[in-house]
């Protein structure tokens, strides 16, 4: 079963596309995810996913209700546009409700869910909602792979050029200007890049699972990482492992690829947590004098 998967991986075009898309997403999702987690914005990907769905639903609405074919082939365009609008709305509300920043996400996620339901229903295309809720990396097109490649390049460039500033301001915003960082510009660029990445993830893993691709590998890596660098590298390795195993499971058992990838991610998280716990217990047994202290995990 594994051998036929391997031979198909390189002989079947759709498998190769899925592999390339998966490898690239496996790097950029945890890379952006680390910043999302540090800034305590874990729900943001979900929120932006829901809001980019508005773009997809409006594309369908314009195509099937008015016969405008501009967006019929590439609903991703409006998905990206609406994801960015959602991101900007979150930043706006976050500034408005300074001490209750999570309110921003609750408002934007509800607006996104409501508006997309309305437009899907008006275009009488509620059936296609499933594809966008769960995505499918095995059916992605060449065009989509190019889109992921360009997005990855932009993310790598941003991290290569401004990585230090991005990490510094994510850990602590108050002092940003003393280190030559313009907080307003950072927040704006970050939310735009994040919105684009989320809308790109939409097609391969879907609205409901896009945040999992970003957050879960980081959540597992945080348990065993000893520095920022090691945590990020471990998260990328976990993410790539889950993409590869997820593709194999999806291909072999004919289940949705996004669900398979995210399930592997969760299994990795559980295994890492259990191993960490066992290791802490062993350390405590060997050194009983520290057993009375609270040991962080």
């Amino acid at each position: 079963m594994f051998l036929s998967f391997f031979s198909d991986l390189f002989n079947q075009d759709f498998m190769l596309r899925a592999l390339i898309a998966g490898i690239l997403l496996g790097i950029i999702a945890p890379l952006i995810g680390s910043i999302v987690v540090i800034r305590r914005l874990s729900f943001i990907a979900d929120t932006l996913g829901h809001f980019s769905l508005v773009g997809i639903s409006i594309s369908f609405f314009l195509t099937y209700t008015f016969g405008w074919t501009v967006f019929s082939l590439r609903p991703q365009y409006l998905a990206i546009v609406f994801s960015v609008i959602g991101g900007l709305l979150i930043e706006l509300f976050r500034r408005y409700y300074r001490n209750y920043k999570e309110i921003a996400m609750a408002i934007v996620i509800s607006l996104g869910a409501a508006a997309s339901a309305i437009f899907f229903s008006l275009s009488k295309k509620t059936g296609s909602l499933y594809n966008y809720l769960f995505g499918s990396i095995l059916t992605v097109t060449d065009y989509y792979v190019v889109l992921i490649a360009i997005t990855s390049l932009v993310v790598f460039l941003l991290f290569g050029l401004f990585g230090r500033q991005i990490i510094s301001v994510s850990f602590e915003e108050t002092n940003a200007k003393f280190f030559g960082i313009n907080l307003g510009v950072f927040q704006l660029v970050f939310i735009i890049v994040l919105s684009v990445v989320v809308s790109i993830l939409l097609e391969s893993v879907g609205v409901l699972l896009s945040s999992a691709m970003m957050i879960i590998p980081i959540a597992a890596a945080m348990k065993i990482g000893w520095s920022y660098r090691s945590t990020t590298i471990i998260a990328i390795l976990f993410s790539e492992l889950s993409v590869f195993l997820g593709l194999w499971i999806a291909y072999s058992f004919n289940i949705p690829s996004g669900a398979a990838i995210v399930s592997v991610n969760i299994i990795i998280l559980v295994i890492v947590s259990v191993i960490k716990r066992i290791m802490i217990k062993r350390t405590l047994k060997k050194t009983p004098e520290i057993a009375n202290f609270d040991v962080g995990e």
């Binding site: 680390s34 987690v37 540090i38 800034r39 305590r40 990585g163 230090r164 500033q165 990490i167 510094s168 994510s170 850990f171 602590e172 915003e173 108050t174 002092n175 200007k177 003393f178 280190f179 030559g180 945080m222 990482g225 000893w226 520095s227 920022y228 660098r229 090691s230 945590t231 962080g296």
Partner: protein, 224 residues
């Protein structure tokens, strides 16, 4: 750095907190700001840091108005608490300091400062494993990274152990001796072990007294 404050007024919504506060500091001065809770110490610091917006002509750094001021990298700030700081995510002390430095500041400078603060051995430790005192020193190093000309520090409250308060004060004296203009907000009645040059005493009825150390020492109760 020369600092001039002219008739500074600041109000939160409609509640006046600072009214007509004026004083000047020259390069290399060491000012201690003291006063009870609610006397406006933190509000004044927030004005100086550009967090609280003030009107034209109220605050000048080296004769440059704070309104439109852009050279914030010549300042360093050490907060009293680190509520805003994310402790959970793994990052080593060296990594944390390296990402905060300006492009022209070398990594070797980071190690030199860590050594000077006596915390070189914790450079590879995870920041969430540090004690309160160690974390305070890491933040002082961070504020000093880009060779600031003005350092604003909010002293930890007296509730943390006395040894750390003493160490903190000795460190501030040392930084001042190197020629940095220092503004320290003290939450402690006693100004012992501080080599300050000026004192600003603030009270909640908007009155204030700005005195040089010599004059302040003649006033009873200032330097116990």
């Amino acid at each position: 750095m020369q600092i001039d404050i002219n008739n500074l007024c600041f109000a939160y919504m409609h509640k006046l907190v600072i009214n007509n506060l004026s004083f000047s500091l020259s390069r290399g001065d060491f000012l201690v700001i003291r006063g009870k809770n609610g006397s406006g110490k933190s509000t004044l610091v927030k004005c100086l840091l550009g967090i609280n917006p003030v009107k034209n002509g109220m605050i000048f750094f080296d004769h440059e108005d704070i309104v439109g001021f852009k050279k914030w990298t010549i300042m360093g700030y050490v907060p009293q608490k680190f509520e805003d700081f994310n402790y959970e995510y793994p990052i080593t002390v060296k990594e944390f300091l390296s990402v905060s430095r300006l492009r022209q500041t070398k990594d070797s400078h980071v190690l030199k400062l860590l050594d000077k603060m006596g915390i070189l051995e914790i450079q590879n430790d995870n920041i969430n494993s540090l004690s309160g005192g160690q974390l305070q020193r890491v933040f002082i190093v961070r504020a000093m990274l880009n060779n600031p000309r003005l350092l604003i520090l909010d002293e930890p409250t007296a509730s943390i152990d006395k040894k750390n308060v003493l160490y903190f004060r000795e460190t501030v004296n040392q930084l001042h001796e190197e020629g940095v203009t220092v503004i320290l907000i003290s939450h402690d009645e006693s100004l012992a072990n501080l080599n300050y040059t000026h004192v600003l005493s603030m009270s909640s009825d908007f009155s204030f007294s700005f005195q040089s150390r010599e004059n302040a020492e003649l006033t009873p109760g200032v330097n116990e």
